[in-house]
């Protein structure tokens, strides 16, 4: 008798858990806001007022297409909504894994999402494949103690790369320490600095002018600048830590990776746009979007969730808690965290700079984005860290880049000029 009741209990528990997981929870899979703290804010603050229960699950960007493909092939669909960066949706488009969201796009038309952002979500098709969700970018942050060393006549909000070099050099001269820092650690985002900032600013492109003479000059100058860079940069993944500890006074990073420093000591730091080069102020906006997976368990619920996340109030709550900024028209409240305000200000100044030059994240490389990034990091390692001659390195790496572009057939993206067929190094 006892045995039977034990079995009944087990059976009951099993049914209960199965029912618990099935009770219409929406599954929201996201490659963004993965760190546990951000994910918790997503669950406890941002998704709190949505009427349905949402299971917020995170996934490594590289695993997203693998997982979607596996669900397609296996025929078991669990994911409703996917949140990812523009470039991370790209590999899902050829898989035909996303539901067209044209009706939803029409419904939320009045919320003021800028047209260029909306059209990015179409990937050149006639259908809206994702709805813009939130945006961010890369900024520079400096300790106020570094400001007195700014070269004469330099405006921190409109720096050039020459002025940055002079500034870091002056700081080094006066303090004896190398206090400029870049996120070159294994998990750092340094490749984005080359792809979205340095190359566009100097050459006006990324792939096409990769081995140009201007690029050669650029690398020579960047090597000279590196003499004022903290050698521990090769282990920095997030610049907020060295900024807070004082190991670095001037830093470049993704806004989400310096936000802790800005929030903890808003009076200690200033945030400003990345420098400009001869061709303008290259910068890389980061756009995350929301999409619905084909054959999702609850397509209507998924649409409702996207609608909810694209409401001005939710967008402000998102900016407040995780440091991504609204894509819809939403006035940031006056009582907003001063650190977030600093970051938002720097992004706003970057976007509205007269010489701003937009550089998109690589598009069309599919799962081989890592190889593209490696070309830039390898070039950097060889020229800057190992002191090899830029010409030879650029010629060698250009071959790798050429092969990658040919094999993926990816056409040029901004700021490179449009291409017919694969984007090619000149």
């Amino acid at each position: 008798m006892q045995k039977i009741s034990a079995w009944l209990l087990v059976a009951g528990l099993l049914t209960a858990t199965a029912a618990g997981a099935r009770a219409g929870d929406l599954i929201f899979l996201s490659t963004q806001l993965r760190p546990i703290e951000e994910a918790q804010k997503m669950r406890n603050l941002i998704l709190k007022d949505f009427p349905h229960k949402v299971d917020y699950v995170t996934e490594q960007p590289a695993q997203l297409p693998v997982r979607i493909k596996a669900e397609q092939q296996g025929g078991t669909h669990t994911i409703d909504v996917v949140g990812a960066l523009h470039g991370e949706f790209q590999p899902l488009v050829p898989l035909d894994a996303l539901v067209p969201l044209d009706d939803l796009a029409a419904t939320i038309k009045g919320r003021g999402i800028p047209d260029p952002l909306m059209s990015l979500g179409k990937f050149g098709t006639v259908h809206q494949l994702y709805i813009p969700w939130m945006q961010a970018s890369y900024i520079m942050v400096a300790n106020r103690e570094a400001l007195p060393y700014l070269p004469a006549g330099a405006d921190v909000n409109a720096l050039t790369y020459d002025q940055l070099a002079a500034w870091a050099g002056a700081v080094q001269g006066k303090t004896g320490k190398r206090l400029l820092g870049f996120p070159v650690g294994p998990q750092g985002l340094m490749h984005r600095f080359f792809e979205g900032f340095l190359y566009p600013s100097y050459t006006g492109g990324v792939v096409v002018p990769f081995r140009s003479e201007v690029a050669e000059t650029m690398w020579t100058q960047f090597s000279a600048l590196w003499k004022s860079v903290n050698p521990n940069s090769t282990s920095y993944n997030f610049m907020q830590e060295p900024l807070l500890s004082g190991d670095v006074w001037i830093a470049f990073d993704h806004i989400a990776r310096v936000l802790d420093a800005l929030r903890q000591k808003p009076d200690q730091f200033v945030a400003f746009p990345a420098p400009a080069g001869p061709k303008g102020r290259g910068y890389m906006p980061v756009l995350a979007g929301l999409a619905v997976v084909k054959d999702a368990p609850d397509t209507n619920g998924a649409m409702a969730l996207i609608d909810y996340l694209a409401q001005p109030e939710t967008q402000i709550a998102t900016a407040r808690s995780v440091g991504f900024f609204p894509v819809v028209k939403a006035d940031l409240p006056l009582d907003l965290d001063p650190g977030i305000k600093l970051g938002a200000g720097a992004i706003e100044k970057t976007q509205s700079a007269k010489d701003a030059l937009t550089a998109l994240l690589p598009i069309g490389l599919g799962q081989r984005g890592g190889e593209f990034d490696k070309v830039f990091i390898d070039t950097f390692q060889l020229i800057v860290l190992r002191g090899q001659k830029p010409r030879a390195v650029l010629d060698r790496e250009a071959e790798t880049l050429r092969r990658l572009m040919t094999e993926t057939g990816a056409p040029c993206w901004l700021p490179d000029p449009p291409s017919t067929g694969a984007c090619q190094v000149q």
């Binding site: 590289a62 294994p186 050698p231 500890s245 060889l382």
Partner: protein, 280 residues
């Protein structure tokens, strides 16, 4: 049932387990390494050898193995000998010495990182003692010697215990009579060690060396946490190609290299430290 089959039946589950979870992936990895775009080729290996970190990874890996393994053997031998003469609290000493065994590689790496970073414990102590006037970098790409030393020290701390445990077990198996006989013939302690203990310990030393060398070639987490991008080794490169570059072929090529090197090391030990048939 025929009693002859029972032993085979009993080992069948473990054999099946190994086949499914070890042998099959092994064959798959080798196949992956030697294929590019579905055709048999050495393209992955060419790609691996052409990469800027490959030479560094090979040199670094061998450097570590060549420095760490002999040091560990010497240290563990000395510790095992000392332990023989400890009367009271022998178990406690052995227990304390083997604490690092219970700590994960990654945790050990992070412990050493906390000691050796710019604002770590080492610099703090040196600053207080007045040896340094400001924080010093030990682990940057500009200080390859201290970086290598740090990894060697961390590896010694973490993995000497496994050698020690094997040697202690081996020492305990040596019958006391041999040592007593040597004493009777007037052997010095050094002669006793080199002529009696060491030869009888050879099988244990062989086991310890094989285990340690193979593990040293596979060293990963401790190097990754202390050296990061500045100190590539074979396994960390395999990890990089697998997860960051998403190029499974090159990652598999690295895995095959690591396996080949480990196998070669094992064969060399088996041959060099073989016990002649007459002594068995």
């Amino acid at each position: 049932m025929n009693a002859r089959f029972i032993p085979y039946l009993l080992i069948a589950p473990s054999l099946g387990f190994l086949t499914v979870l070890f042998f099959v992936p092994l064959v798959q990895t080798i196949a992956l390494a030697f294929q590019a775009d579905g055709i048999w080729s050495a393209a992955n290996f060419a790609r691996m050898a052409g990469d800027l970190d490959f030479t560094d990874a090979v040199v670094n890996t061998f450097e570590i193995v060549i420095i760490v393994v002999p040091l560990q053997l010497l240290l563990a031998l000395a510790m095992a000998m000392m332990l023989q003469h400890v009367r009271g609290g022998r178990d406690i000493v052995l227990w304390i010495w083997s604490i690092p065994l219970g700590i994960s590689d990654l945790a050990a790496g992070l412990v050493w990182l906390a000691i050796l970073t710019d604002k770590g414990y080492l610099n703090t102590i040196l600053l207080h003692l007045g040896v340094l006037s400001g924080p010093r970098s030990w682990l940057s790409y500009e200080t390859p010697v201290t970086l290598l030393s740090a990894i060697v020290v961390a590896e010694l701390w973490r993995a000497t215990a496994i050698v020690l445990v094997i040697l202690v077990a081996g020492v305990q198996l040596i019958p006391k009579e041999y040592g007593e006989a040597a004493d009777v013939f007037g052997a010095t302690p050094w002669q006793r060690f080199t002529r009696v203990t060491l030869p009888l310990l050879k099988p244990s030393i062989q086991t310890a060396l094989i285990l340690r060398t193979v593990l040293a070639f596979e060293m990963f987490a401790i190097v990754l946490s202390i050296g990061g991008r500045n100190f590539p080794v074979l396994v960390s490169e395999a990890f990089n190609w697998q997860y960051n570059q998403q190029d499974f072929g090159v990652a598999a090529a690295y895995a095959v290299i690591v396996m080949g090197v480990s196998l070669a090391a094992t064969l060399i030990y088996l041959w060099a430290l073989r016990t002649p048939a007459a002594q068995r």
